[in-house]
């Protein structure tokens, strides 16, 4: 058999296959994992010589393997982890900080051929405060901020978090979740019965 310039005999071919499999296996063993998650010493960031620190730090696999599985990012569905009570992260350090959670969906219809976007305030305000996004990333009024996918991919608008910390931009359908034609209402804020813009105003 010929591989490039080198002629290989049958025994040599077998040795090649054996060596390759051993080398691949050693690579896998060398980068130790706990479940799906790389061990800190093998994550390419932590200094292996810092034995004292590494001994104390929690391994991602020890914590994340116990949370609802996601398909991307930390491979955890963080929204579900919070809503189903797997985790109970603190909402504030200072006493007297107002904890604001609102339930208001925004449907965005200018999505070209993609599914419409449903933005749920509830899932976001359970983690974030209004002022994290309003008014710097988004004006608190539908249609005022020119949200666009190019900007998002460059880290603006939703891309401030999505693609860096919250689920990545490759999960298209988690935001683009409403199939065109199945939604016949008005785009924008979907106010619950009897409520309007004034009820959700930040002023």
């Amino acid at each position: 058999m010929n591989i490039g310039l080198f002629r290989l005999k049958k025994t040599q071919l077998i040795s090649l296959v054996l060596l390759l499999s051993v080398s691949i296996a050693s690579g896998i063993v060398y980068a130790a994992k706990i479940g799906l998650w790389d061990s800190l010493a093998d994550d390419g960031l932590h200094d292996r010589r810092n034995k004292k620190g590494l001994k104390i730090l929690q391994e991602p696999g020890h914590a994340l393997s116990k949370l609802p599985r996601g398909i991307s990012g930390n491979q955890v569905d963080w929204v579900m982890a919070l809503q189903k009570g797997f985790i109970e992260p603190r909402t504030n350090i200072y006493e007297g900080t107002e904890i604001r959670v609102i339930d208001l969906d925004i449907i965005m219809g200018e999505t070209s051929t993609m599914n419409y976007v449903l933005f749920p305030h509830k899932a976001h305000t359970e983690w974030l405060d209004c002022k994290n996004c309003h008014p710097v990333f988004f004006e608190a009024k539908v249609g005022v901020t020119p949200v666009n996918m190019g900007g998002i991919l460059e880290g603006e608008f939703c891309g401030r978090c999505h693609g860096a910390v919250s689920f990545p931009l490759t999960d298209c359908n988690r935001c683009h979740s409403i199939i065109q034609g199945t939604f016949t209402g008005q785009f924008g804020a979907q106010y619950p019965d009897g409520l309007n813009y004034e009820d959700f105003s930040l002023e």
Partner: protein, 135 residues
Amino acid sequence: MRIFLLNKSINQSFILGISILFSSVFYSGIASAEYGDVVINRYSDKAGMRPVIYPHWFHRIRFRCKVCHGELGFEMKAGANDVTMAEIIDGKFCGMCHNGEIAWSTEYCDICHSGKPGLQPGIRGAHQTLGPGVW
């Protein structure tokens, strides 16, 4: 049977070379930072300390985003926060919790300053979407 690694012919060196190459490729392909890890190295290297590895995953299990990005005043952009150790010891930024009461205090340098020397600052992350959405 011949022991291949002791044979000095060029074919065996070629095979060994390929194996080592594959080994390194697979190794570097597997090791990766956790999604949302931030390398903080504005001052650490210059001060002879290891860079800080800030894990978002660890903190969001314990705190909602709004605590650090609201109450503690961290901007939501890597590189936009000029945080000095003096401020932290003074109880600002990380020091709001890392004071020995809520979380470990600043005397345990090696737990936060745990990165490889010379790392570029910025946000890291490993996992792309799995399945049909991969690009």
